[in-house]
Amino acid sequence: MEGLKKVAVAGVIAAALAPLGVLAQQPVKIGFVMFLSGPAASPFGVPAKNAADFVVDELNAGKGPAPYGKVGFGGSKIEMVQIDEAGPTTSVVTEYRNLVQRSNVDLVIGYISSGSCLAIAPVAEELKKFTNFFDCGTPRIFEDASYKYVFRTSPTATMDSVGAAYFVRDTKGKVKSIAGVNQNYAWGQDSWGDFEASMKQIDPGVDVKTSQMPKLFAGQYTAEISSLLGTGADVIHSSFWDGDLEAFILQASPRGLFDKRTVILTTGETAMHKLAAQIPDGTVLGARGPFGPYAPDNAYNRWFAKGFEAKFNAPPNYASYQMAQAILGVKAAWEKAMASNGGKRPTNEQVGAALEHLAFDGPGGHVRMAIGKGHQAIMETAYGMTKNVGGKLTMVNVKRYPAEAVNPPEGVKSTDWIKGGFKK
């Protein structure tokens, strides 16, 4: 009788716990949003999608490097819902709402355009949906507002501009004049504004010759290149990306813009493999952080870069790294929240609380959610100069800058920090 009782009690307990077990094993449905069509698909969207495919496959197979070796997120496999970011901001917001309210995703990881991120952040907050921005650069997101459900595991564009100015200081010394050619929207304006302000902090006497702001995807830069050549500026800064970056290199290189002056392309890493023959030696390329050629030689990078290249027959670019970093950061937070929740599936609020002020490692190195009240990542950054070795572009004279040197401290706006002399 006693034995039967025990069996019955065990049965009742098992039946009561069964839903929890099922819940724990239910897949974690993640909405991934990136450009899958349009001009940004090729340099950013598709490399990021490929990174998501690779990392999710590896994690679901339990093949991630320690401490990411557990299957999926905390033992639950990841189910991907991939959405195209292309289209006007209104449709990007509509698609986000569909993702949350119709597809019922558990989390969202995505967004390349700063415009998308600025529009999505308040909607994520309204819908109380954990959302991690993986690529967009504008620092305004956590400087102008504060969010509970919104995070960004990649550094802001401020780091790119300040790092570029430091690189000029460390490699060129005192320069007389600078000029810029950037796209005429938030990204280009912020990038140039931060670079110009940083250069003026480093050397108040620097002369700004011209700031060219052609419209996004203009494609034809004959007049802009003439203007830049005519000014005779020592340093030329550009945050061009995608086809604009490639067209600029193709049109500027035969005209000798890269000769006798330093040209800094802050997102140039995305073009370095495609345009190796056209990018002259001595061009300064950025990778929006310690990604691609600047990634550290750690276990995560060996796993990611080697696996990615084997799967897609092309090296990952910085957008790929940022996506991998975003997934690993959320996985770390999910599993931390799960552990605090007695091994049960965490809520969005618990995952968010776990990611706040978290530090984790990824293929790009050490990441700290140190600013924006713990919602914004900071990392070290690096810049280097190109050198063509046997038809392959390599980076030489690489300079690395610690995270604190290129990012504002907590609670200080980027522009104020730069204008205040980079005070820590």
């Binding site: 702001m213 995807f217 034809q220 003439s226």
Partner: protein
């Protein structure tokens, strides 16, 4: 003052590119009264065909100097594959409908062709930089310009002269003028209006494809390439007067020069300058600089 030479050269180069990109749009509108949104698609098709065929040509080690002929051949090839099929297969059934309906049809075709391009060429960029640097360079005001730019200027001049000659000095041009003025009466008098429409549409699309093909060596050929071109082309032909070839030429020159001046002297207004010119022209001449009042038919 030393900037004046480069300002003019930059303006002329941009004007030439604009004219090549826009002239087909005004030709098709002038003859067929179709605001052809697929013009942007043909520009992109020309760019993809030019970049991929020329890339393959150079990869095979064939003479680089003939790559310009391959660019031309690429534009002709994609035009002949797509343009007659679109005109005969769809547009000819729409001629009786309102202009707005045909505009929407060409917009739908534009969207279809955008995806067709992705199906054929994928989303990765295509480059064919060699033809741009192959001819060396020339200097103006101490600034270096690839000689390739002169090909664009020459092509624009040849197109404008050729079209002017065909329209004003040949029998075909006179018949075309009759078709433009009154297609029904032309048909009644034995003119094969359908053939004129087919040839005009194909020629208009070929001009767009040529624009794309000869631009390919200077840009990264990526999805969405044709979107901005259709907007710019529209601005140019509206300034000149829809359907007017001299208007397209003058519109291109005005836009090219004004943009060049703004880039050199006032870069912060460059974004608005083209559309400011368009607004200014339309404020005083609502039909554009060369737009003619249409006779009212009873």
């Amino acid at each position: 003052m030393s900037q004046i030479g480069p300002v003019l050269v930059d303006g002329v180069i941009y004007s030439a590119w604009l004219f090549i990109a826009a002239v087909g749009l005004t030709l098709v509108y002038g003859v067929m009264k179709i605001l052809n949104v697929t013009h942007g698609s043909f520009y992109a098709l020309g760019a993809y065909a030019g970049a991929s065929l020329t890339g393959a040509w150079l990869a095979k080690g064939y003479p680089p100097m003939l790559s310009y002929a391959v660019l031309l051949g690429g534009a002709i090839l994609v035009t002949l594959v797509f343009a007659p099929a679109i005109e005969r297969g769809l547009l000819r059934f729409m001629y009786a409908k309102d202009e707005v309906v045909i505009l929407l049809v060409t917009y739908a075709l534009f969207l279809i062709l955008e995806d067709t391009i992705k199906l054929i060429w994928g989303v990765n960029p295509y480059f064919v930089a060699e033809p741009y640097a192959l001819l060396g360079s020339f200097e103006v005001g101490g600034l270096k310009y690839p000689t390739y730019n002169l090909i664009l200027v020459g092509l624009a001049l040849a197109l404008s002269a050729g079209l002017a000659w065909v329209l004003h000095s040949t029998k075909v041009g006179k018949l075309l003028a009759a078709v433009i003025h009154d297609p029904e009466m032309s048909r009644a008098l034995g003119v094969n209006v359908d053939r004129f429409y087919l040839v005009t549409f194909t020629l208009g699309c070929l001009l767009a494809a040529l624009g794309g093909s000869f631009t390919a060596p200077t840009v990264s050929v990526v999805p969405g390439l044709g979107v901005d071109v259709i907007v710019l082309s529209f601005a140019v032909v509206v300034i000149g007067g829809l359907g007017s070839l001299p208007g397209a030429a003058l519109g291109a020159v005005i836009v090219g020069l004004v943009r060049s001046v703004s880039v050199h002297y006032l870069p912060q207004v460059e974004l608005f300058v083209i559309y400011s010119v368009m607004a200014l022209v339309l404020a005083f001449r609502p039909r554009g600089l060369f737009g003619l009042a249409e006779p009212r038919k009873i």
